[in-house]
């Protein structure tokens, strides 16, 4: 409590000294059971590079430090979503449970996608006009000491307690049409984005399976040819070529799946998590609204002697709610902007990468075709 209070104080201080776009999460290495991420960034002032190693717990610490419960306006902020923890099994293989929980982030070689998601998270925090001022970010990015050891309480991120309330309050009628609309819109979009992301994941998984099947076919053919003696040389050559063709097909699916994961997959995943974050923010506001309305009622019903105290409480709540609402309004606007921008980036780079892959593979195919036509028949 004390510590978070301190961060809240320092929040108003000078902004981040690190360039947001320079933040990179380069790689994840497995240190015993924990994944260690190496993060590099550059100072705004002199472009000097900084490199630190952080664990997932450090990220959690940051996420909690960003949110200061005693700063009511912060309730209106849409916090950049931190990906769920990636648990590596000993064989560093992705099991179904992790896949279900993390979706795209569980895919990719050496946690590549997960690193990118963390990177996006840090960048989003650094780009945020309010959150970037929080010293915790700078600490995480520059301090050689690991800050995450001091465990913080769950705070509002403890979603377990929310679940019960959520059901009750989610349908609470809003006093403000803007927020009512936003809430309706958000729950609709959240569901749709989630489904779309899952389906895109299915596409990618199917591509990966195809890639494996093609590889299998390619090596089966090769194995077969190796067994055959050279009696039918022409046939062996054709089989070898066929094996190569399937290798290219395998490469095609592999690349396509990779592109899908690293661009649109990641984009959709972020989109989906961001919408969840917005939902959480809107929910916090709704909670405050319910609280305020209850206070209003209490004030009306209260007897004269208690009315003064009740009004005071109500006024505090009202002030908090108003501050939160105006912050939320800003944040929603900002969110939509950055959401569209993020999706645009994802779509454009997705398209470009797929185009590159398609062109590359087409060139390989035509090479194969040419080579095949030249093969002898006898």
């Amino acid at each position: 409590m004390n510590r978070s209070g301190k961060t809240a104080d320092t929040m108003e201080g000078s902004g981040l000294t690190i360039s947001a776009s320079s933040i990179k999460v380069n790689e994840a290495t497995l240190d015993e059971d924990t994944l260690v991420f190496s993060i590099t960034s550059q100072k705004l002032s002199n472009g000097m590079g900084v490199c630190v190693c952080r664990t997932y717990e450090d990220f959690e610490w940051l996420q909690q430090s960003l949110f200061a419960p005693d700063e009511p306006d912060l309730h209106g902020v849409i916090f950049p979503p931190l990906p769920a923890k990636l648990i590596m099994s000993p064989q560093s293989q992705i099991n179904n449970k992790t896949l279900k929980q993390l979706g795209f982030l569980a895919l990719g070689d050496c946690c590549r996608t997960y690193c990118e998601a963390l990177e996006l998270y840090l960048q989003q925090v650094a780009l945020h006009p309010i959150l970037s001022k929080n010293k915790a970010l700078e600490t995480l990015l520059t301090n050689t000491e690991s800050p995450g050891k001091q465990r913080a309480k769950k705070g509002i991120f403890n979603r377990l307690s929310q679940v019960m309330e959520e059901k009750r309050k989610e349908s609470h009628k809003d006093v403000d049409d803007f927020f009512q609309n936003e809430r309706d819109n958000n729950s609709n979009m959240t569901a749709l984005t989630k489904v779309t992301t899952e389906r895109f994941l299915d596409v990618v998984l199917a591509e990966q399976r195809l890639s494996v099947a093609s590889k299998h076919l390619s090596s089966s053919i090769q194995l077969w040819v190796n067994q055959e003696d050279s009696a039918n040389a022409a046939f062996s050559k054709i089989c070898l070529k066929t094996s190569k063709v399937f290798e290219t097909i395998k490469r095609n699916f592999e690349k396509t799946a990779e592109n899908n994961i690293s661009t649109l997959g990641l984009g959709l995943d972020l989109q989906s998590r961001y919408q969840e974050a917005e939902k959480e923010m809107l929910f916090r506001r709704t909670c405050k609204l319910v609280e305020l309305e209850a206070a209003n009622k209490n004030t009306e019903r209260a007897k004269a002697n208690k009315k003064g105290i009740m009004e005071e409480v109500r006024n505090v709540l009202e002030k908090q709610f108003d501050g939160m609402s105006s912050m939320a309004r800003q944040e929603v606007g900002r969110f939509h902007q950055s959401r569209v921008a993020l999706l645009r980036t994802a779509l454009v780079s997705w398209c470009e990468q797929q185009l590159n892959t398609a062109t590359e593979i087409a060139a390989l195919y035509s090479e194969h075709l040419e080579a095949c036509q030249k093969l002898p028949e006898e």
């Binding site: 596409v203 199917a206 077969w224 070529k241 063709v245 087409a362 095949c372 006898e378």
Partner: protein
């Protein structure tokens, strides 16, 4: 009826029984032959007993009676099986007749039952050669005539005129020449009682003459029966019924000689084939469970053996199976690799019959169509099979008699058949002391290849199913994106998303096409070759059988020699002559079987080499086709992405 006689097993046992007698034939000529013929003809044809007993009584008049009374179809179907019996009977009854009166019956016989005539015609006929070669070749071993007479494509036109002229000259009957064809087709045979024999000659002569068109139209059943009938006779010729006759042995050797000539020629002409076959317009005929699919078989050719350059017939699936049965019956035993047709699929066909617009039944029909097309193309690609009259008939003739008894080839039955054949092979391999390393190695190769192909087939299958899965997932994703786009507030993003949904729909289409390509090119190709390898094993099997026959003959010969030694020792001169005859007979058989085995071995070797060449060519063709389809869909994909990129960039 005809079918039943066709299906009755070749009279091996009968022939075996007679094997003690035939030795007489050489010396005693006609009588022995008659006895032999009598037994042979009675036994195999005994099933349709009723008509026969009548016929036996008064052959010639019976023929005429039958012909005049029965309706056309029935009559024509009866003729082939009845006539031979009728014809032998006179000989049987009149005994010595052939010598003076002999011209007609003898000729007749030789025309009707080509393989018997070496026995009966034997010494009395000056036209021995002609009869020995032409009729036989004409009916079942067409290519041989080609080699023997003139290296020409149209052997009908070539050999039959001679034959016909001879027949005419010998018979020396004016009406016999012009009447027969008409007689036969117009059912006025009754009038020519005494000449019925001649009319038969002519009928058969005509069958190979220019007038075949008419015959084809009128006497449909007769013709179709004719070929299996004769063909089985050939089978007999090469098998036990030919026995010790030195004549037939000579025929055998001339045959072998002819074969090599033919082979040479084949190889030369291999590249000159101009024949394109396509199967189109699958069409459901009839309703309910009696419905069937009819396919349009179109042929384009520059080969002179066909009457026109392009022609089209309609065939149903069982016709294709029927063709395979005929071809396999005729050619398998000689070691040829007869391309197998696709299996019958009860499930698939039932779907077609029941379901109206089920996409899976459409896929089934297309798959079947393509597979029948490949089957037929493989048949006509085979230089020897192309020469088969049944192939020609299949491609050219308007109406084919309904193929029966194709159930044996349906699905499981077909597999069982192949498995049985391979079992037999493996069993025999143990017994067979393989003298030729080439065959040993090849057989092993074929077997391991079969296993590999089956494995590959399974892998490709899973590839296809994954591709289908991807296609389905892409479609679902496209739908999701479309919904997301329609709920999106940002206009540009909404527009881009709906474009993306369209893009994904198109990509899904590509995946679907590619899945089809994977399937049609690789799955089907591999399935074809698994079947073809079955046929290859079959040809090895035939060689093995031939070897077995030779070995058995050697064993028997050995026994006979031992028996002779015993007789000598026991000093029983009365039986000694018979024993000597038997030894001579079996010596002949051994030589003949050995020659046969060598012939089959040579054919198998040649066929396997041809098969491998074809395989390499086929795989190359398919992989090129596949790559072309891959490339095309990839280029399409590039276009799609290029079109989408500005949309993505337009998001503000």
């Amino acid at each position: 009826m005809a079918a039943s006689s066709e299906r009755s097993p070749p009279p091996f046992p009968d022939a075996e029984d007679q094997e003690s007698e035939p030795a007489l034939r050489d010396e005693d000529s006609d009588e022995g032959a008659d006895i032999f013929l009598g037994t042979v003809s009675r036994k195999p044809f005994s099933p349709p007993a009723a008509p026969h007993s009548a016929v036996f009584g008064d052959p010639l008049s019976n023929i005429s009676k039958q012909e005049s009374t029965s309706n056309p179809a029935k009559q024509s179907s009866k003729l082939p099986s009845d006539v031979p019996c009728d014809i032998f009977d006179p000989l049987h009854g009149t005994g010595m007749e052939p010598k003076d009166d002999g011209k007609n019956p003898a000729e007749l016989r030789s025309e009707e039952r080509p393989k018997d005539e070496p026995l009966s015609v034997a010494s009395s006929k000056p036209k021995k050669d002609l009869f020995e070669d032409s009729p036989e070749d004409l009916f079942s071993e067409l290519p041989k005539t080609k080699a023997k007479t003139k290296p020409q494509m149209d052997l009908f036109g070539d050999s039959s005129p001679d034959l016909f002229m001879d027949a005419k000259a010998a018979a020396d009957t004016g009406p016999g020449r012009n009447a027969p064809a008409d007689l036969f087709s117009e059912e006025s045979v009754a009038t020519t009682t005494s000449k019925s024999a001649k009319s038969n000659i002519s009928a058969n002569g005509v069958h190979s003459d220019e007038e075949e068109q008419d015959i084809f139209a009128e006497a449909t059943v007769e013709l179709s029966l004719d070929s299996p009938h004769n063909n089985r006779k050939t089978l007999d010729t090469t098998k036990p019924s030919e026995p010790a006759s030195s004549l037939s042995a000579a025929a055998g050797s001339s045959k072998a000689q002819a074969k090599t000539l033919e082979e040479l020629e084949e190889e030369e002409s291999e590249d000159k084939f101009e024949l394109n076959i396509s199967i189109t317009n699958p069409e459901k005929v009839g309703d309910g469970m009696n419905a069937y699919m009819a396919y349009k078989v179109s042929t384009q050719t520059t080969l002179p053996m066909f009457r026109s350059k392009t022609f089209t017939v309609r065939r149903r699936f069982s016709d294709f199976l029927g063709l395979y049965e005929k071809l396999s019956e005729k050619h398998s035993q000689n070691g040829y690799i007869v391309p197998p047709p696709p299996e019958k699929s009860l499930l698939g066909m039932t779907k077609v019959k029941v379901g109206k617009d089920d996409p899976s039944s459409g896929e089934f029909v297309e798959r079947r169509r393509a597979s029948l097309e490949r089957y037929l193309q493989r048949v006509v690609c085979h230089p020897s099979l192309l020469q088969d009259p049944d192939v020609r008939e299949f491609l050219e003739r308007e109406e084919l008699p309904r193929a029966v008894n194709t159930q044996a080839l349906s699905g499981a039955g077909f597999l069982k058949m192949i498995n049985k054949a391979t079992d037999a092979v493996s069993k025999m391999t143990i017994k067979m002391n393989e003298s030729d390393v080439w065959f040993e190695e090849k057989l092993q190769e074929v077997e391991s290849e079969d296993q590999q192909l089956r494995k590959l087939h399974a892998v490709v299958d899973s590839l296809v199913s994954h591709r289908k899965e991807l296609s389905v997932n892409t479609a679902v994703f496209a739908k999701s994106v479309a919904m997301l786009g329609s709920s999106e507030d940002n206009t540009a993003l909404s527009r881009a998303l709906s474009q993306l949904a369209e893009l994904e729909d198109k990509i899904e289409q590509l995946h679907q096409e590619q899945a089809g390509n994977d399937f049609f090119v690789f799955t089907e190709l591999l399935a074809d070759y698994i079947r073809l390898l079955g046929a290859v094993r079959g040809s090895f099997d035939q060689r093995m059988k031939s070897w077995q026959r030779w070995q058995d003959a050697q064993t028997t010969l050995q026994k006979k020699r031992e028996a002779e030694a015993k007789l000598l020792w026991a000093n029983k001169p009365d039986k000694l002559q018979q024993a000597k005859d038997e030894i001579a007979e079996w010596e002949g058989k051994v030589t003949q079987y050995e020659r046969e085995f060598e012939r089959v071995s040579a054919t198998v070797r040649k066929e396997v080499i041809r098969f491998e060449k074809e395989k390499a060519r086929d795989f190359k063709k398919q992989i090129i086709k596949y790559l072309e389809s891959l490339l095309q869909s990839q280029q399409q994909l590039i276009k799609y992405w290029e079109a989408f990129l500005p949309e993505a960039k337009a998001i503000a």
